[in-house]
Structure formats: structure tokens, C-alpha cells
Subunit: 377 residues, 2 copies
């Protein structure tokens, strides 16, 4: 009984979130309309996007907007973009109200029926969508816009509660019951709910390693949820991990290659977000993430086979040490990256196979999991 | 009762297939061993791979090996590769017997414990694996080797019958019950079984279009199985479609962009395979595939927005017309590609959104599905 009430409350919360966006859209449009009636020049405000308008928020753990705004005033030269922004807001309102979805590309083609306001190229329409996203301070999935690409597979101790798109009836997806297969994360995860008694989430770089852990039911032994990211995680995958880890207060251990790409691109992006999309980091970053990937020290301790660092790796390490606010904030990361620099090598997570294909399951992960406190931050 | 017996028979068949490979491996190794005892120079035979040793088999519908063989004799200069080939065969035997799996990359790292026979780089180990695959005339998934990358999502009228990796007990995965999510195809699909009363399989190029058809339960209206390929389909995805379409005698309709890439790379590869992997085409091609993508005629009939052909597109069309055995075999495809060439445009599947986001569901697909006979071959 209590659960049902809680779940209803949650559904209400999601509905409220959506209708709040619709309300914001309506208000913005109303203001412009009223302004015009009063012969005032219409304007739209959105935050300036870029590193100049960003701080690294230590407590929340992501790049945050400082608050500088840009104002777009309706003039002869901006009339088309202005109209397009309003049309895009209208499309979003329709999507939310009809519970439909559209990709960036579809939104571009929908505009082909907007007469003079139609977009001539998709980059133009993408920019306007980004503006609308920033204007309402939401991620575009909350506006009904979904990413072009999917990505992210789940197996293990998790029930995802979704809705039947047709009937609206609850659908319970038990991720322990897919054999060698997995649950594929949908493009938009805003309305999903979760049930789990898992102890942690293990986010894995490669599909091959994920398949090994699934094949040998690692999630059962370790009581966890396995997520395959397939390289840099997609928006949907990042948002899924974030919502799940927040909702269930679950630590997220990230198992990636011991190289500047695994550390600086995959792990860093998952944990704190990226510089050029600061207005959405707060929805996509995963502050609970810790690094369980191959560390430079692991390479030594486990006598792992390596590859020499490529030029692009060396450049990336230098860049991370010099410019990345997250790395600059954490001495442990600087130490690790400098060690990698000195050793001049990188190491893939599959290198553990030198000691046997299932060494990763029988030794490496259990040994690591004894001391999560020692994971790199 | 009858079904159970049939299913047992099928399981038997799969087991036989696997143990047949083990038997072949043992025989080959035995022959070499016996040869050595008799002081004969050991040799291994495998088919020559490449277009020179390939015919286009019209009836079966894929590029087929003609049968030329190369023989690798054990000499001073080939001793290392020879040893590596035998070690790789041994790894495969162990994988099959222990029902385990390994990626190409893992196999490379396993070799790091082979002493002098270890590989110095992964391309070397990949080549030896390809040789072993060709030697036994199977796809490498049957040898226990799985692809690095996953890919391919399923929703709709299909029950996949898999096994619990732990207990070996049957697991039934109902692809109608994933809400807005989907079933993600595992890396190896050799042992899956299927139950369905669907009328056809719809294989879709983009994740965005797939998500739309899932969101609006298109599979329920059309009584079909939806598969998201996400660009050029992975090995697992191709093999899944092939096994499902063979097993259930289902036509496969391929819904891709109307451009040389969608036609010549995605559709052509799915249907007949590729030139440089001819020894495995027979396992991966989908002869039942028909083209339901945007045709040049659709662009005219539906007044669809287009993009100009890029240089790479123009080059690709010329190349397809001149060199591709599949295109050269089908006049209808030559006609369609020449029309595209004359129109100088390409068209994405999302272009249908010009007429409304769900025009594709309400009009385009139903109209097309009235005449599957007219689909391009």
C-alpha cells in the first residue's frame, strides 16, 4: 500500500516536471505576444554556453553555468531565427502534450512545413534546439527531443519499470532474465522507475568484457547491475546511470581501459560532464562514479601486457594535466596520469586475460572490490 | 509434446554442430601429430580468401568460395605461425568444451602466456583466427570467438529462447514486453531459438526511427518484428536476422536511407555479404531480405526533401554499377541507382517527417506494405 502511494507520488512528480516545461513554454510565448500587443520589441533570453560561463562546482561535482545570459531581440536580421525558435518551442509543446518524441533530424524535417521559417540545414536547426534547451534549463529529452543514437545495455539485479506505450499500463522489465542477451536502454529515460537491491553499478567500457561478465553471471556473485557503455556513453546511457544511481543511492564503479581515452574521455565525461555542453551537465553527470578501471599501479601489480603510448595519448595526458578542471582538482589523478606518462604505456582491460580468460572475475574484480575506498576519485 | 521433442532435436543439432567442430579440430591435430611420428612434414590447409576465389551464387544469393586452397607447410620460417595456429585451435577447443567465449582481443592476450608462440600484435593474432575460421569452414562464433562489438536491438512479436548461463535452464525473452526499451542481441546467437507468429521482420537503419516505431507500437499493428541495426549491422545482428528468417521462413524488409550508403553498404552487406569476407558470407547473408528503404521513385512520389549527393556518393554509385556483382545482377537496382545519379540527390528516412512525425506509420509503411512484390530485390 505504501509503495503504491509512493509510486503514484513519483508519477505525479514526472508529470509535473513535464507540465512545468509546457507551462514555461506557454509563459514565454505569452510574454512575447503581450509585448508585441504593447508595441514592445520582443526578446528571448538564454544562458551563454561555453567554458567562459562555467565554474567547477566541487560539492555537486560538475561544470556549472555561472549565469551570464544572452538576449536575442527581434530585429530585421534576427527575424527568421526568432520565428524558428518560437516554432521549435511549439513543436516541443506538442510533443510533450501528445507524449510523442522527435529526433534532432526529424525536427529539422518537420520544419520543412514551416514555410519561410523552415531550416535550410540541420546544423541550423540543432543550434536553435540547443538554445531552447538552455533557455528552459532542461535537457532536451524533457522537451520531447530524443537522441539519434541509442546505446547502453543492462544485465543484472535491476527491474526497470516502464509503461506500455499503447495502453499506458506499467511494464516491469527484469534484467536478470535475459540469458546471454541484455536490456537495451531506450532513447529517453526520463519516465523510467527502478527497483533493485543491488550493491553497486558496474559500468563497463567494452561490449566484449560486458558479455564475459554476463556469460558468467558476475552480477549474481557480486550482487550488482552491469552496464555496457560501448565506448563513450551516449546521452541516454549517461542519464540512465545518473537517474538510477541517484534514485537508489548506488555507487557507480567504472571499469575502463587504463589509457588517457578511458580516463580522460569515457570516465571524466561520465562523472562530471564535458566543457562544451555545460548547460546540461547537471542532468548527465554521475557524481557517484568512481574509477575501477585499470590503473597505472595495476599494470605493475598485475604484470599486465601493455602497448606503447601513441602521440595522441601523450598529447591527451598533457592536456588533461594542464587544462582539465576535474584533473586539476584531484591530486590522485595527476599522480596517476604522471605515472602513466613516465611508464610510456597504456593497458586495455582485456589484458587481464593473460592470466586466464576469467581471471578478471575470479581474482581482479573481487580483489579490487575489497577496497572501494581506494578507487581513484 | 511434439514441440518438446522438436526442441530437443534442435538442441541436439546445435550440440552436434559444436562437437563437430571439436571433432574436426582433434582430427586435424591428430593428423599432424601422426604425420610427425612418421617423419612427414606437417601441413595445414585453408581456402584462399579474396575476390579471386569467389563466385556470385545466384540461387543461394551470396558470394561463395570457389574452392582454391592454400597449404601452409611447417618450415623454419613458418614455425611460429604454425605453432600459433595450433595453439589457436586448442584455445577454440577449450572454449567450446567449457562453453566459454573469447573476443579477438582476449585471444590475443591469452597468447601472452604461450611463451615463444605469443603474438606480438593483435593484427597477427586476428589473421591466424581468420585462418582457423576458414580452415574449418565455420564462422568464428562457432569456434567460441565472439565479436568485440555488440549491436542490434529487437522489439515486437518475438520470443527469444536462450539459456540461463548459470543453470543451463531455458530462459524465454518476450520482446513485446520491453516498454520503450528493447532486447539487445548478445554477441553470439548460435544457440538461440525463436518463437513467433509475426508476418515479417523490419530491419531499420537508424535508432531514432526504431524508437518511433517502438513508441507507437508499429509492430502490433503490422504484426512484425522490429530490428534496429544502427548503421551497418554488426556480425551478431546479421547472424541473428539470418537465423531468425531461416528458422521461421520470414521475409526481411530493410528500411534504410535512400542513398548509396544505405543501398550499397547497409542493405547489400546484409543481403549478400561482402567481398573481403567471402568465407563467412554463407553464415551472415540474409537472402530473404528485400529493400523497403526510400527509393528514388519515393523521393518523387512523396515529394521528399533531399540533400545533394556528395562526391563520395557519386563515386560510390559509379563503383556499385561497375564492380558490384550483386548490382550487376539486378537490372532494377541499376535503374534505381542511375535515377539517383540523374536526380543528383540523396534522401534520409526521416525526410518523411516533413508530412508529420507519424506519417511514416500512418501512410508510408502501410502503402508500401500493400505491394511487397514491388520492393527492390
Amino acid at each position: 500500500m505504501r509503495k503504491t502511494r509512493m509510486m503514484k507520488k513519483k508519477e505525479k512528480k514526472i508529470e509535473n516536471k513535464m507540465s512545468k516545461v509546457v507551462k514555461q513554454i506557454k509563459e514565454t510565448a505569452q510574454n512575447i505576444y503581450q509585448g508585441i500587443l504593447k508595441k514592445k520589441q520582443p526578446e528571448l533570453q538564454s544562458p551563454i554556453r561555453g567554458l567562459s560561463n562555467v565554474t567547477y562546482n566541487e560539492k555537486d561535482g560538475y561544470f556549472e553555468l555561472k549565469g551570464s545570459m544572452k538576449t536575442r531581440t527581434l530585429t530585421a536580421s534576427s527575424v527568421k531565427t526568432f520565428a524558428q525558435t518560437l516554432k521549435m518551442m511549439n513543436l516541443s509543446k506538442n510533443l510533450i502534450e501528445s507524449e510523442d518524441i522527435a529526433t534532432k533530424r526529424e525536427a529539422y524535417y518537420v520544419s520543412k512545413n514551416w514555410g519561410e521559417a523552415r531550416f535550410m540545414s540541420q546544423p541550423d536547426s540543432d543550434t536553435v534546439m540547443d538554445d531552447v534547451e538552455a533557455m528552459f534549463m532542461v535537457n532536451r529529452e524533457q522537451l520531447g527531443f530524443i537522441p539519434e543514437e541509442k546505446g547502453g545495455d543492462i544485465a543484472g539485479r535491476l527491474v526497470v519499470v516502464d509503461k506500455n506505450p499503447d495502453t499506458g499500463k506499467e511494464v516491469r522489465i527484469d534484467c536478470t532474465k535475459f540469458g546471454s542477451g541484455a536490456y537495451s536502454i531506450p532513447s529517453s529515460v526520463e519516465e523510467l522507475k527502478f527497483e533493485t537491491d543491488a550493491k553497486f553499478i558496474l559500468a563497463i567500457e567494452t561490449a566484449g568484457m560486458f558479455q564475459r561478465l554476463v556469460k558468467h553471471n558476475y552480477w549474481k556473485k557480486a550482487n550488482c547491475i552491469l552496464i555496457s557503455m560501448g565506448g563513450v556513453p551516449t546521452r541516454a546511457c549517461r542519464r540512465f546511470i545518473r537517474r538510477l544511481s541517484d534514485d537508489k543511492k548506488l555507487p557507480v564503479y567504472v571499469f575502463v581501459d587504463g589509457d588517457p581515452y578511458g580516463i580522460g574521455s569515457i570516465y571524466r565525461t561520465l562523472k562530471v560532464g564535458s566543457g562544451n555542453a555545460a548547460h546540461i551537465n547537471k542532468f548527465f553527470c554521475v557524481p557517484r562514479a568512481r574509477y575501477l578501471g585499470i590503473t597505472p599501479q595495476d599494470i605493475i601489480d598485475y604484470k599486465l601486457p601493455t602497448h606503447p603510448l601513441k602521440d595522441v595519448d601523450i598529447k591527451k595526458i598533457k592536456d588533461l594535466l594542464k587544462n582539465d578542471p576535474f584533473i586539476k582538482h584531484h591530486k590522485e589523478w595527476q599522480k596517476a596520469l604522471k605515472l602513466l606518462q613516465t611508464m610510456k604505456v597504456r593497458c586495455e582491460q582485456q589484458a587481464l586475460a593473460k592470466w586466464g580468460l576469467n581471471y578478471v572475475i575470479d581474482k581482479y574484480l573481487p580483489q579490487k572490490m575489497k577496497n572501494p575506498d581506494k578507487f581513484l576519485p
